[in-house]
Symmetry: C3
Subunit: 185 residues, 3 copies
């Protein structure tokens, strides 16, 4: 894997902000720190997980906190900024008054990350028995096909997004498409 | 269901305008009226159907007129504004000269809404026989998987969108993906 | 097919630039030439293939170079502009210093277009034997369902996109969804 430059990380974040009509944080020091955090995480895990949260290092447990995380869009809608304050709306960009944004990530997902992260540091099998510290099996994190009942947008995820990125419908407007699918990766 | 505030409705509409590079109408009174109409419809039906059109109250018949409606993107492309004039392009935003936009919704979809809406008001079964006023069965409104032949965007809808939200290809560039799917909701 | 006007072509390109936070080229003469090229290609092929590249006239071989082409997003991310310089980022829009952007289209796709384009001009079967100049069979250009492991975005394409249009994840984050699908068109 090639190491991303800070400029690449910044350019991607800016493009992403543009797509959704957001701005990058108006605080230049905070911005620099967050971009460096994203760069570090991308080098460490292979994906730019949130610089303000603990990643497990397992993609299937970290999907929801890869930047832009699943919680950004509802957070910007409700508070004007994401949890990290990397992405802000027009108003916060003007006032520069960064809000405190509470953690929206469900506690069970946080716990899963912590357990998995802790395991990695103590990964030595006890003699005479198989390790018992396995994290939840993949069957519990199985992705499904979902569609937005308003605009038809289709995603393949564990849960539907909080807000449809196409038409902005809320999560409740997503329903499952049942079909037999297999997937790799 | 929680009742949306006017600020939530405004914030969602603004985010949606940003995503597509549109503006909310430059007429402040019109804007206020439309946002209130969206709020009322969301409370009444559970989804923010177009404030300028009659909804049936049945999601499967109203999908195309939930704001942003299916007709917004072709209308903004052709006239600079949607039917309601809630969403306008750069030019209309500057000139503030709101155009009159003709109704693009197909007459059969309008009729379906009117019939269904009328039924609800007279929903009393005649004695001795089953009601005969049923609206068209769901088989006529069956969703399919469609893909954009240009960019590959996948949607699950009755008909393909007028304009691909990702690459802006026109409806004719969509084709069906045939697979056995079941769906809920 | 109705012939698109230059205004329709410009309006679509502008909407597309807005969606991704890009600008149309700041060089007015270049812009006019590119829009005319897009108009000509749309009239000739039925789709607006890139005005700076040779199209085969066969949709299955030209998908990747229909404007906005598959290469635009990585090119704007790396060079600030697409191959044609039709789409540019904020910085190039301000400095008006248009970069030279190398061709990112894989050589085998270019070759396929050239062969197919050349064939059309000499499409006369030699007597006594079947034509041997057939381009690669459709099985080699078979579309698949892909999903973005970060955000769940689903596409039906030959290869995944270079950059996820929703969350900006790179191509490596896409994996295949295996399901039995048939498709038309």
């Amino acid at each position: 894997m090639t190491k991303p430059s800070i400029e690449t990380v910044r350019s991607r974040a800016q493009a992403d902000a543009n797509t959704f009509g957001y701005h990058l944080t108006p605080d230049p020091e905070l911005l620099q720190g967050l971009l460096e955090g994203l760069k570090t995480n991308e080098e460490r895990y292979g994906y730019p997980s949130c610089p303000c949260r603990l990643a497990s290092g397992k993609l299937e447990y970290d999907r929801d906190i890869i930047c832009p995380c699943d919680y950004r869009d509802p957070d910007v809608a409700e508070f004007g900024a994401c949890y990290c304050r990397l992405y802000v709306n027009d108003k916060i960009n003007e006032t520069k008054d960064l809000p405190t944004v509470p953690e929206r990530r469900p506690i069970e997902k946080q716990a899963r990350s912590y357990e998995s992260s802790a395991e990695k540091k103590t990964e030595t099998k006890p003699e005479g028995e198989a390790a018992k510290t396995e994290v939840k099996p993949m069957s519990e994190t199985k992705q499904k096909l979902w569609y937005c009942k308003q605009c038809g947008y289709v995603v393949f995820r564990e849960d539907p997004p909080y807000i449809c990125p196409i038409c902005k419908a809320k999560r409740e407007m997503f329903a499952e498409i049942k079909t037999r699918v297999e997937y790799s990766g």
